[in-house]
């Protein structure tokens, strides 16, 4: 409690200075009056008593001052004096201040920018009520160790009460063609269950939610996002009542969800679940649920495994390797980007350390040049702690200025980061420099000021009066200053950290190059991709869609410059793709009992000419042609790896395959094509089963049209489609964009790492230069003497360079040790390159050593040109 009382008194003395002073006057006056009274009682006259009392008390002003001193506003007063003094000192050496502030600004700014991304994406809770109780549920295939979607019946078994879930919903959908006011476009649309609104505890900003009755009857209604409402109808209120057309069905908008609500990522339209599948074996849905109050994740996991065990008993063949997982929704969203973001945070932390080490080095240098000033202060009675405090305040002021400039950099940096970041990084729109980020910057600024400033301050304050006051200070014959080894150690540490970063950046760069250089199995150059969707509901409509597509392909093919055109459901890096089990006639039976023995493949539907358009070689047999229609014999083409894995050297041609995509019919294998990296460039090609799109019309009314052309035919091709049917929504892209999107995350981290490594290497090089040129200046006299005694310029250079080389070597070796030890943290993010990649190591070591040695060569050469007469006369 004493501390509170003390604080209150000090605050009072500070804030109510006049009142406190008045009280002091009154108190002293009282004393004076008492004294006068006493003297008069002893028989003095009033005047004499007054005079005597004044004499006895002495100087009233001094007394008042003495009392005021005791009140110790001093600590604060002294602090503000320190700050003013620091500002003066910093202003007096503008070169030092500018370099230090910019260095710090770079380090702090980069940290602030990355932190604002980390905070928004990883640290902040999702913007839903009780978001930490929302979990995402998945199937987990124990045989292949991979997660998968849920089947409808499995989902209902998992959430049937009693269960840990207060509410739950499935969702399925994606970019679907939606028509509003005569205009069709692709909009992220999801079908959801009645539990959807309760899971996220939604309140509409206009209109109402979908009622339970509407869910039950699958009523054609829709909810839209605030963004969608404003874009299409002008305001959220006006959206209610308007109709959207989805798959030929008009759906009135009944309500608008709040602006921040974005689940699933980027969703804009929600409708009652409209694609029901009762299949237990195909995973069609993803699901989220809200846990009941008090239910733990462990209890949830236990429930899921109980259900899984029950299903395993009931359906031994299909559910043998099926488990279910529930993880917090937040974790499921940021899982992929988490390691990347922490990696970047670590990298940027290293940059800050290098920057701070550089500034600490400058401070040490200054301590040497300021030795006289500090010695004078010490001689005048400043205690060591007083000097340390002064120096620390200087650092804090310096770092705060650096932090402020860094903040300005961060504002710009955050914009750039958001622009660079992969579009599928969740919650990117929430990234901003806010109060939390400001606090982070403040803590980092002051923290680094204390950590990196304390040591130089302690060293500087250990003033040897004799030495410090002597003219000339530390410049002896073997000068270099008493902080020489400390500065050397700092520079070595800088080089070590810069090496870690450079090596890391090198690895990621090599990995990215490998990723872009990998043989995809297809070509992306000069390939336009048009995504088009033809509304269809009935079988007739679906068959008609195929006819329309055929016309579109034919007409686009007639455009000048077009070399090939084809359609596909399941483009590499595209959103539509399917996969599952299949059976080969004579090898397997396509029945439940066989499920765990059936091979697995990706399912893709293509039009004739797809492989030509993609540049994929036909290994054997033929491509699909225009006779492969719905009524004709079903046909299929297999990829080389499927042929290898399943037919083991036998020719697959003429054999028959069956899968559960839609029609369970035997399909005759008519061709074998080369492997493609359909999943993404980093994943090796998997077995693929290609089917003729006209034979599977239910999955083929929404296609990617690949156009291989020598010129840009995008506009012309869109016109062709519009001429055939203006109601077909078309989205334009290129195959290169699809590929690029699939490597967006590696590109993002590689780019930033290279940038940070560059900054760190530049700072470390500057650090080496600073230390070496200082050492060279300090040893001018010595060098002059040596030259006068017959040493050549080369001798001097090699002598100085040897010192530099020792620092660099120490730094490089310790950096390598650290980097190799830390290597396993990044191993999982690398593609096609080992952590101990010789090229990357040699490159990083070579680059950094070369830069650092050059930085020490310049001052060495300068020192070797010294005029011995001039150098010796300076002494």
């Amino acid at each position: 409690m004493r501390i509170v009382a003390k604080a209150r008194l000090r605050l009072r003395a500070l804030l109510r200075r006049r009142r406190v002073d008045a009280e002091l006057d009154a108190e002293l006056q009282f004393h004076l009056d008492q004294l006068v009274e006493e003297l008069m009682a002893q028989g003095m006259t009033a005047d004499a008593a007054h005079a005597a009392a004044r004499r006895r008390i002495g100087g009233m002003t001094q007394l008042r001052e003495a009392c005021r001193d005791e009140r110790r506003l001093n600590l604060l007063d002294e602090f503000s004096t320190d700050v003013r003094y620091a500002l003066r000192v910093l202003r007096r050496s503008p070169a030092f201040t500018t370099v230090a502030v910019l260095t710090l600004a770079l380090g702090i700014g980069a940290n602030t920018a990355i932190f604002s991304v980390v905070k928004a994406v990883l640290l902040e809770p999702l913007p839903y009520t009780g978001a930490d109780r929302i979990v995402a549920m998945q199937t987990f295939w124990t045989n292949v160790g991979r997660p998968g979607s849920l089947s409808g019946p499995d989902y209902f078994d998992l959430v049937a009460q009693p269960s840990p879930f207060a509410a739950s919903t499935r969702y399925t959908g994606g970019e679907l063609a939606i028509e509003t006011g005569g205009q069709a476009e692709f909009v992220a649309t999801y079908g959801v269950d009645p539990g959807f609104e309760a899971v996220f505890q939604l309140t509409p900003v206009a209109g109402r939610l979908i009622t339970q009755e509407e869910f039950k009857t699958r009523a054609p209604v829709a909810l839209v996002s605030a963004g969608y409402a404003i874009r299409h109808f002008g305001s959220v209120e006006r959206a209610v009542g308007h109709a959207l057309t989805l798959e030929s069905v008009a759906r009135p908008v009944v309500g608008v969800l709040p602006a921040g609500f974005q689940f699933p990522l980027n969703a804009e339209v929600w409708i009652p679940m409209w694609r029901e599948s009762a299949s237990r074996t195909s995973g069609n849905y993803r699901a989220v649920a809200r846990l009941k109050p008090g239910i733990t994740m462990e209890a949830t996991a236990a429930h899921l495994s109980t259900v899984a065990a029950r299903l395993r008993q009931t359906f031994p063949s299909t559910h043998k390797s099926k488990a279910f997982t529930a993880i917090r929704l937040k974790d499921s969203l940021v899982d992929r980007s988490r390691t990347t973001l922490w990696l970047l945070m670590g990298a940027v932390g290293l940059v800050l350390m290098v920057a701070c080490a550089n500034v600490a080095n400058l401070l040490l240098l200054r301590a040497t040049t300021r030795a006289r000033e500090l010695a004078v202060r010490a001689a005048l009675g400043a205690g060591r702690s007083r000097v340390v405090r002064q120096l620390l305040v200087e650092n804090m002021v310096l770092n705060l200025i650096g932090g402020a400039v860094g903040l300005a950099l961060a504002f710009a940096g955050v914009q750039a980061l958001v622009g660079l970041a992969p579009a599928n990084l969740p919650r990117l729109d929430a990234v901003r420099v806010d109060g939390g980020v400001l606090l982070f910057t403040l803590v980092v600024s002051l923290g680094t000021a204390m950590i990196f400033g304390l040591w130089p301050a302690l060293r500087a304050s250990r003033v040897d009066l004799q030495d410090g006051l002597k003219q000339g200070g530390a410049r002896g014959v073997f000068g270099g200053g008493r902080n020489a080894w400390a500065r050397g150690a700092l520079v070595s540490a800088e080089i070590a950290m810069a090496l870690v970063l450079t090596l890391g950046a090198g690895l990621f760069f090599r990995s990215f190059v490998a990723l872009t250089a990998v043989d995809l199995g297809y070509h992306t150059d000069g390939r336009l991709v048009l995504t088009a969707s033809i509304p269809a509901r009935t079988e007739a409509q679906h068959l008609q869609a195929g006819v329309t597509f055929e016309r579109i392909f034919a007409d686009i093919g007639k455009l000048p410059g077009v070399r090939a055109v084809a359609g596909v459901m399941g483009l590499p890096g595209g959103p539509y793709g399917s996969d599952g089990l299949f059976a080969v006639e004579g090898l397997h039976e396509f029945t439940q009992a066989f499920y765990d023995k059936l091979p697995h493949a990706g399912f893709r539907l293509t039009s004739p000419g797809y492989f030509t358009a993609m540049g994929v070689p036909l290994v054997a047999g033929r491509d699909f042609d225009d006779r492969d229609l719905y009524d004709a014999e079903p046909v299929a083409i297999v990829s080389a790896s499927l042929a290898r894995q399943v037919f083991r050297g036998d020719s697959p041609l003429g054999r028959r395959i069956k899968c559960g995509l839609d029609r369970e019919v035997w399909m005759r294998v008519v061709g074998v094509v080369g492997d493609m990296r359909n999943e993404n460039p980093a994943t090796p090609p998997a077995p693929e089963l290609y089917m003729a799109y006209r034979q599977h019309p239910y999955h083929a009314n929404e296609l990617h049209i690949v156009v291989r052309a020598q010129t840009d035919v995008a506009a012309a091709a869109r016109q062709v489609i519009a001429r055939i049917d203006p109601g077909i929504p078309v989205k334009e892209s290129t195959l290169e964009e699809f590929r690029s999107k699939s490597v967006a995350l590696p590109r993002f981290r590689t780019l930033l790492l290279v940038l940070f490594a560059g900054v760190a290497a530049a700072l470390a090089t500057a650090g080496v230069y600073g230390v070496m040129s200082y050492a060279a200046t300090q040893r001018r006299t010595e060098m002059g003497l040596r030259i006068a005694l017959g040493a050549t310029g080369a001798d001097v250079v090699s002598m100085l360079l040897r010192n530099g080389a020792a620092l660099v070597a120490t730094g490089v070796i310790s950096g390598l040790v650290i980097a190799l030890a830390a290597g396993r943290f990044v191993e999982s993010m690398l593609f096609g390159v080992e952590v101990r990649d010789a090229t990357a190591i040699a490159g990083a070591v070579g680059l950094l050593s070369a830069a650092a040695l050059t930085a020490s060569l310049v001052p060495a050469v300068r020192a070797s040109r010294v005029n011995p007469i001039a150098a010796l006369r300076e002494e």
Binding site: M1, R2, A5, K6, L9, R10, E23, L24, A26, E27, L28, F30, H31, D33, Q34, L35, R56, I57, G58, Q62, L63, A66, C67, D69, E70, R71, R72
Partner: protein, 109 residues
Amino acid sequence: MARPTDLVQGTLDLLILKTISLEPKHGWAIAKRIQQVSQEALQIQQGSLYPALHRLEQQAWIKAEWKPTDAGRMAKFYSLTAAGRKQLSKEVESWTRLSTAINVVVQEG
């Protein structure tokens, strides 16, 4: 009357704390009281009394209150806080130790 003794460094705080430990007193009364009890041996100079009072107040060992005196004038009365009471016993103890030690040395031989 002997010449008033210079106070041993740091003992003024002890004297003040002790003097107001029984009842709150204003500065004048504290000085008078010390003078009186020490039989005029200790003269407290205003120049050191008031800064000392303010120092002790800032340390939160004593607290001040404006109250009327017996004569009806307003004066600043100081009294001990709980922390001050602890400090007093500490200072008494260390004073006793010191003075005993000095006595032993002085009276030896």
